[in-house]
Amino acid sequence: MAVIPCRASSARSSSGRVPAIRGAADQKVRVRYNCAFFQEALQNVALKVSQNPTVRKAAFLAMNTLWAIPAIAEEAEEKGKIFDFNLTLPIIVAEFLLLMLALDNLWFKPVAKVMDERDEAIRQKLMGVRDNSDEIKKLQEQAEAILKAARAETTAELNKMRRETAASLDAKLQESRQRVEKELAEALANLESQKEETLRSLDKQVQELSDQIVAKVIPF
């Protein structure tokens, strides 16, 4: 049966098997690989399997491929392969998480606080400005109302004045008309009386004239 090729446990003795690219110096530490435990378990399985011929063949093939893999891996590992995953991976995970905590507390939280406070202050100031414009509108409305009231007052006053002057003018007109009529009536009355007088005087003169005529005409 195949024997598992286990690497020797001594550090310095296996330095000859390692290619020169590794460069085994004395300070370099070596990897140990102990597989005696595996060897025993697999030999037990092999015993059980060797009863059945087909299974034995399949096991033979499987075993050979299985033994080939560590050898290939060992070779590739010593060449410095591109895809070797090792403890670096979890270490990087841990580093990333610690970095995330540190950055959150040192950078993101304080700077976010300052930025948010600034935004809040600006928003407050903007709100304040908007309230002032409301007040201004109210004041404007008040001013307009006052103006309207004043205008209404003045027009009312104006109308009153007009009416009053018209009334006084009318009164004066009436007065003068009455005076004129009175004087006219007086003048007419005067004329009438003068006419009466002249008529009377005429009558008297006519009487005198007629007396004179009679006196002259009738000689006695």
Binding site: G23, V29, V31, F37, I82, N86, L89, I92, V93, L103
Partner: protein, 235 residues
Amino acid sequence: MQIEQLQIFEIDNPHQVSSVEVHAQVLITSWVVIALLIALPVVATRNLQTIPTGLQNFIEYVLEFIRDLTRTQMGEEEYRPWVPFIGTMFLSIFVSNWSGALLPWRVIQLPHGELAAPTNDINTTVALALLTSVAYFYAGLHKRGFSYFGKYIQPTPVLLPINILEDFTKPLSLSFRLFGNILADELVVAVLVSLVPLIVPVPMMLLGLFTSAIQALISATLAAAYIGESMEGHH
């Protein structure tokens, strides 16, 4: 150029079954990235003022950018808790890539391997992709409970295998996109530098800066998009 590992663990116990290895060059460069990313806000938040100037202006701009990115992908109501995650994703990838391209790592000679961007290692990119996967699963389960699994049969149950496959291809594509871009750029620049070190590699390096910045943006945007998609519900 080879990406070799520094083996820094020794296991003396003869009953140990497997080996434990670490890519120490990735750890070293990632520590430098972390140091840069922590030093920046510590210096900049010394004296925060209402009217920002200089460095405070810059970090506020970066935070505004990250918030906008997250809000675009996840919507106005639920983007707030995820800003740290997406921000750290974006900033770590961005600073990693640019540190690999801009800092003179070659000055420090290691006995084995080289220092370069930490994202040129498959472990880093797969770690970030797995974190994104876990994040969007957590987001979906936290928001919708077990009805989150209803999304697998969402448009029609015929698409169930494709939806399940999507859960594997999402982290795969995230990790390989970033890994391939960064590693390939580094390799090309290294080859050009080894051939004609003077002027010729410079356009390639500038292109590398541009594409690595885009990759950081894409990784963060896609992470936010996956999280937003798993929180929102119907397609």
